[in-house]
Symmetry: C2
Amino acid sequence: MKETPESPLKTPRTKLRRMPSRGSHERAAVEAILDEALVCHAGLIDDGLPVVVPTLHARVGATLYLHGSAASRALRESGGAEICLTATLLDGLVLARAALHHSANYRSAIVFGRASLVAEEGEKLAALEALVEKIVPGRWADARRPTERELRATAVLRLPLEEASAKVREGGPADEQEDMDLPVWAGVVPMRTVAAPPEPDEQLAPGVEVPEYVDALVGEFA
Amino acid sequence: MKETPESPLKTPRTKLRRMPSRGSHERAAVEAILDEALVCHAGLIDDGLPVVVPTLHARVGATLYLHGSAASRALRESGGAEICLTATLLDGLVLARAALHHSANYRSAIVFGRASLVAEEGEKLAALEALVEKIVPGRWADARRPTERELRATAVLRLPLEEASAKVREGGPADEQEDMDLPVWAGVVPMRTVAAPPEPDEQLAPGVEVPEYVDALVGEFA
């Protein structure tokens, strides 16, 4: 991936050691992956051992927010912790002629940094809005807003987007030249995450229709 | 999730501290999630900091195998390292009446253990077969097998499936009773990972047709 001379997300820790040609430290590349991915995996150290938990994330400018419940045990104890947040989009299965060249097409973003609990109520509310809008754009305006009590009881984590890299594998299989004539099918099976028709809650109030922003999701995420 | 009296995957480390009712230590539950997930996230400690990398995995009985390239830097140096392997399947977006109850339906498996490099050639070959068959069942029989030289140059990691847990969120939104009559649509948008029609490699040998096991993927992963 092309990189501009100044790549402020690059640090010793985010230097791409393996296949650097597939990587980038461009903020736009990293942000696009984080914005498209619905789920991320946050890794932290707990009692000296690595722990990786899936969680929802949302970006507001140069800050990432996470629902605090999942990853916050170690954080609550320490008031902040080094985490690694990784989001991956699977784009395709790569079938090569040679077994060893089978692979996957993907886009992943890795963010390193110190996560901390959001204390200020305004920031917390903005983070929750971003998290709800991330799940379904347009949803925040309809949903019942948090009460002050709910807001106080909710943990949200902040992770600055300052140290990060993106990695992308795309295109067809990378077979050896001498394997090209083998009578073995080779190519890519593209993979997509799609939404199926919505299933309304059984106790929906009478007359409530499926909102447009929900219908718009179906078949999306292509 | 129901649990039989003996759950050998349960250890102090895999005790479910948050929402234990959503969790299980049943081997069958953990294995089903690992087998269905095409990508996992492996977390390890590198220079005292957590690192999470996406990678492909495959299971052979009670052992998980990973392509060694991605996570192996720290491993190569140490001859083995504690890792946490997490695989997550996103099943749906959960839209609640209240903003704070928005969530996702998912199934995730978390495996803890010491990963080590596979040295023995027979085990390495069996692991590679499992990894190729995981990408596309039926593929190993067609693909060109690794040479001895290729095999020696390939790093494969072994992780015993001995300490693990599964976590599942399913069903509709968990709104408060007093919110039930709000005129807000609530329900679940099911999410699926599907395969699109295969894209043949440009340099395919003449007369090579798309194999049945590739055609069988399209629209699958439902």
